[in-house]
Amino acid sequence: MQLSDMERGMLEGERGDAVRTAMEILVALGEIFDADRLLPVRSVQIAGVSYHNLGDAGLEFVEQMATDGRAVVPTSLNPAGMDPDRYREMGIDAEFAARQMRIVEAFRRMGVNTTLTCTPYHVGLVPARDDTLAWSESSAVTYANSVLGARSNREGGPSALAAALCGRTPRYGLHLDETRRPTLRVIAAGSLRCPADWGLLGAAIGQQRPGALPLIETAERPDQVSLKSLAAALPTFGGQPMFHVAGVTPEAARHALPADSLCVDAALLRATRERLEIGAEDRVDLVTVGCPHASLDELEQLARLLADRRVVAPLWISTAPAICQQAAKRGLSQTIELSGARIWSGTCFAVAPLKGRFTQVVTNSAKGCYYGAGHNLFRMRLASLERCVQTALAGRWSEVDR
């Protein structure tokens, strides 16, 4: 891999230990993936924030890098393992909270904007088409690549931090035109009535053809929330952080139709749902919304559905701290919380220590089903946002009107 004199200096430690470690990571990854050089990045988004996942070793690494590392490009941060302000109400112990806050503080010392969200594009961090990024949260990477036409590989936490400290990322993978070409034509024949159904579509494609980059043909017109839902599910189930939707996403028209095809009809969607819902009962311990983080529009919708009502089963909503503040200014948070529902901000139920606290969980997120079942051993059920609210109000699941 070709390095400039400045990059070579960084590798030799001219800019301190953290930058040297960071450059070693970028060069090693560049060599492994046959990159020819490093590209300057416009922004970085770092995942791997929850103490639940990082543990003490991850905490030590981040603090070590913070001794002399500073972000040189705009850098934002994924959710933490708890709401930083309301962790007690969430049932998170003080020991966990203290270590979690040390991680967040170390990122802050490095000049990282502690947005604590998986949806930076909801809080004003919207990349432009063809921008080079080093983002790591899989749904955000997929949204940026697919919906916004920016370019990012799915970075790990350390490689994203390395990109932040060096302002660079190795040129390989989705930074290259040829890698962004679709490899699978998907005919979405089953009806997609709500964002949760788009997540189910992503799960079906990912499970049927892991790694494939789909070009999806559908008569439906997805809204932003539906695309967010698809962007969360596809990499979770199939590992692929990019898709095209014909007539919708910016790069779809650039490419010829792939020869390989998959029809996702109503039967396949149903079978996919049944796999996600193995072991689900009518009893409900928890209803969750906001994976990826709820937008202001979704909070408005929730406020309408919950106004003057009272939940029976706990309803947890996760969103970005910045969105939570906006919702509070508009009175939405008050309406939602008066119902007994809770808005946790800056956290994520996939990375919070919730194992053992719930069993039967209903969500509007296919990605949430995967992590709920895999990490926390929950029995999951997937439903539209409206159905999630109805279930919380009723306190149990009902098959009626599904």
Binding site: A28, L29, N53, G58
Partner: protein, 130 residues
């Protein structure tokens, strides 16, 4: 003296007894981080210590959190002296770099299967012939 030349993932020198694994290793979940011992049930090295060894294996597997597991091992003074790997991927590369473990890949690891002890230095693996 036999020398094999590979690609440097992490520079530096490490020497010690060779521990050869024909199977991939997961550092998160597959290693007991407080004892430095392979803990994955059914793994060919199950129960063996990787501390201070020249650890030779085909490739890594498992969670990306495995990179931090290598750092944890190093902090506990239980890290391998060096890592020799057929084909490195992100988890092991990042782990070796942040933990400061000399690491080389693109090595025909089968040649180390019967070697007692080896030295890794800046992308070169060497050992004394019998």
């Amino acid at each position: 003296m036999t020398e094999l030349h590979g690609r440097t993932i992490k520079r530096g020198r490490g020497a010690g007894p060779v521990l050869f694994s024909p199977a991939p290793i997961s550092f998160f979940g597959g290693i007991d981080l407080e004892r430095g011992v392979v803990s994955e049930p059914g793994h060919p090295l199950h129960g063996q210590s990787i501390a201070g060894r020249v650890l030779v294996f085909p490739h890594g597997k498992g969670s990306t959190v495995g990179s931090y597991a290598l750092l944890r091992l190093a902090r506990n003074a239980l890290a391998p002296a060096a890592i020799v790997i057929r084909r490195c991927e992100t988890i092991v590369a990042v782990g070796a770099i942040i933990a400061g473990i000399p690491c080389v890949d693109l090595i025909d690891i089968d040649r180390l299967a019967q070697v007692d002890s080896a030295i890794v230095e800046d992308g070169v693996v060497s050992w004394a012939d019998d």
